[in-house]
Each structure stands twice: as C-alpha cells, then as structure tokens.
C-alpha cells in the first residue's frame, strides 16, 4: 500500500513527457518519470520515495525500441529486461540481466529503470559501460546523445526533467568476448555480494563492477593493472585491488573484507577466461 496519493499520466511523445514534467513540477507535484515503475511502488510503500505525479514513459515509441541500425544496436529504456534477454542482441547484457531480481520481476523491470534505479546495484549498466555505448537523453533542452561513460558517474547524471530514451551500442562490442559473474551472500538468490562484468576489446580487458561500492563503476586504473601483461595474474589482480574506489560496502550482504576476497578470486578467473581469448 503506497500511503501517499499521486496523479498518473502516460504521455505518448517525448515532448509531451517533458512538457508534463515541467507543468507538474511548477505545480509542486515533485513529478517522477517511470518506466517499469517497480521502485515507486516498493520504495513508495516504505516512504523512502515520494511523488505527487508519476509520468509513465512506456507509451513513447522511442523508449521502446529494440532495433539494429546499420552497425549499431539501439535499446529503448522502457524495454523490460526479459524482452532484452529473449531477443538476446547483446549476450553480455543478457548474462547480466538474467541475474537481476528474478524472472517474473524482470518482466516489469526495464533497462532504463534498472540503470536509473535508486537501489544502487544497477547491474544492467555494466555491459554498456564496457561497450562504451552512447545514451540518448530527452529533457527540457531537447534530445541529446552522449557517451555513457561521460554521463554515468555512480548514477546516470540526469538533470531535472531529463530521462533516458535509449542506449546505442556498436555491434562489434556486443560480439566481443565477455565474462560475467555474480556472487551472492549465499546460493543463487538475492542482491550481489559482488558482480563483475568483463569484456575483451581491442586486445584489452575491460572491467566493470557492482556490489563492491554503493554504486557500479568501470575503472581505468583497475583495467590498466589487469592489462599489465608483464606481471603474473596474481600480481595484476593484487595491484588492481589497490586501485578500488571507496567506500567498500559492509552491509547485510557481506563485509568489506569478504567482498575484496571474493573480488580477488573473480578477477583472477576473469583474467584467465579472457586472456587466452582472441576477439
């Protein structure tokens, strides 16, 4: 039961969505955009989120695309995760997506919703960080397209009134050799203890991590340690571990120490898996 009341509006165009946002904002409604909308329900119920107006983006065609244009893959922010998995245009994304929440929940959770989520794991962003995709954003200033690695810093850095329309990825990246591992506190259910995505591109290994810090990230410093082929795998992994951002999570899923221990093993598996692989 969501304890507060809100208006619900479902615009059909990008422009309409932005106009609505501005109007509702000026009326003090604290509007939010939703696509899957699961967090407004679950966090709203706990009074962690509040809004007086929900703008549902699902009817906007541009937000729901799943197409291949020339050598690029375009995925709309409102695509449910299971739809992306079934179409499987980007196998690393499929692997990452399949580990989010559970299958039924993923028929509702969308790509954009997961990437822009309040709950900080946002594991669907990892493959795009590695693929160096571009994101198309709609907002009061119109539509713009930017590299995801410029715009994503812990969260997708959206200005007021902006929302994610779609993400564009080079087909070559979707076909690159990859590695994905999600380790949980116990067995196969639940939030990550550590999730690591890896990709081999242009001869180098790329790495993005969720569950280590209260945000997902890709780190050049970690990658440069890992790609330092003059050292042994053990040495590369241990120097990468010196480059971790902070703070390291220490919570109900596990301690900071155990996360680092687990990360160490996963990184060495990642290197061993991707090292020998040629693109």
């Amino acid at each position: 039961m969501i304890p507060f009341e809100f208006e619900y509006i479902k615009p059909n165009t990008l422009e309409e969505a932005v106009t609505l946002y501005e109007r509702l904002d000026s009326e003090g409604k604290e509007p939010v955009y939703i696509s899957g909308g699961t967090e407004i329900i679950t966090l709203g119920r706990l009074n962690v989120l509040y809004t007086g107006a929900v703008i549902d983006l699902k009817s906007i065609p541009e937000c729901h695309v799943m197409t291949r244009e020339n050598d690029r893959l375009v995925l709309g922010g409102c695509c449910p995760l299971t739809e992306v998995e079934n179409a499987n245009p980007f196998p690393l994304l499929t692997s990452a997506s399949k580990e989010v929440a559970d299958h039924t929940a993923r028929t509702k959770i969308t790509l954009g919703g997961n990437i822009c989520a309040n709950i900080f794991y946002r594991e669907a962003v990892l493959p795009f960080l590695l693929a160096e995709s571009t994101v198309t954003i709609m907002g009061p200033d119109g539509k713009k397209t930017l590299p995801i690695n410029d715009l994503f810093d812990q969260t997708l850095q959206l200005n007021k009134g902006e929302f994610l329309v779609h993400i564009t990825t080079d087909i070559s990246s979707t076909k690159a050799p990859f590695f994905h591992m999600k380790r949980r506190k116990q067995w196969t259910t639940g939030y990550p203890l550590i999730t690591v995505s890896g990709m081999k591109k242009d001869g180098d290994i790329r790495i993005a991590i969720s569950g280590l810090c209260p945000f997902p990230f890709r780190s050049e410093r970690i990658e440069s340690c890992i790609n330092d082929r003059f050292n042994s795998v053990e040495e590369r992994v241990s120097s990468a571990l010196q480059q971790l951002p902070g703070p390291i999570l220490n919570d109900t899923e596990g301690s900071d120490q155990f996360r680092i221990f687990t990360l160490k093993n996963i990184l060495s598996d990642l290197v061993k898996t991707l090292e020998g692989v040629d693109h």
């Binding site: 039961m1 619900y8 039924t104």
Partner: protein, 166 residues
Amino acid sequence: MSIFQYVVLKINGEDRPVMIRSADTLLEVLRNELGLTGSKPGCLNGDCGACTVIVDGKPMKSCLMLGVEGTGKEITTIEGLQGTAIQQAFVEYFAFQCGYCTPGYIMNCQSLIENEPKATDEKISEWLKSNICRCTGYEEIETAIKSVLRESNSKDRPISRESEMD
C-alpha cells in the same frame, strides 16, 4: 488527471470498470475493488511471487504493477484459470500444503508452460525461483511442472475428483 482514475481492466476475459487510486497496485485493485482474492499479498515488494498473475501472456507480480498500468492489457488471475493440467498436477503431486503461495505459483507455471513448452531444467529453475513456497521443499512443484511439460502438447484435462491414489 487525478489521484483517482476510472479505468476499465480486462480481467479473465471480461471488461471490469472500476474507480481506483492511481497509487493502488494491481494486487490491491484485484483484491479490494474486484473481490478477486485468489492473488495473495505476501511481501508487497516483488520478492515472493504469491500475487503473480498473467499480463499479456507474461507472468507479472501484481504488487509491482499499478492498477492504472493495467488498462489495455489482458489480465488473467487464478480465478480465470480452471481445469488446467498444471492445477491437476499440483493436486496429484501434492505440490502445495498451506496453499497460500499456490495461486501465484500456478500462474507462473502456467505462463511458463505457455511461453516455454520445451523449457529446460535451467529455464524452469530460472522462472520458478521467482516464487517462494515455505511449506514444500520445492520437489513436488518441480515434479508437477515437469509432468505437465512432458505432455506439453496434451489438451487441458479436467481436474479429477478422485481423491484416493496409491
């Protein structure tokens, strides 16, 4: 635009006009406004699957969907599922005890059967771990779904009234 909306939801093949809060989840609309109490609240957080229904052919946790999001969609609840093979299999294989998770589990199984008639063990596991059953050890549910998938081309059979089996 208002905090209340008059919507028409297509549920179990019938149009159901209803006035709801925009903030009501589909689960709350089904239970409190339409009297369809087969869908169960277990966590209101998308974690347990007891409220699973089928929306446009896909399993959906009705606690994770707003009622207003249901307009224009085909919604099937446990009340709309009668005499199916999976229901019979749940009975035959003792795939429930307290019965509270059962409607949600059956809806997820039914959707799996419809979407993935050739589901592998891995696929079955991926789908069915969306629900929590606290009574069984899941083995009976596994037996039930596999028995139906084995006969995935068979017609729905009526539920047997026979109550004794060896």
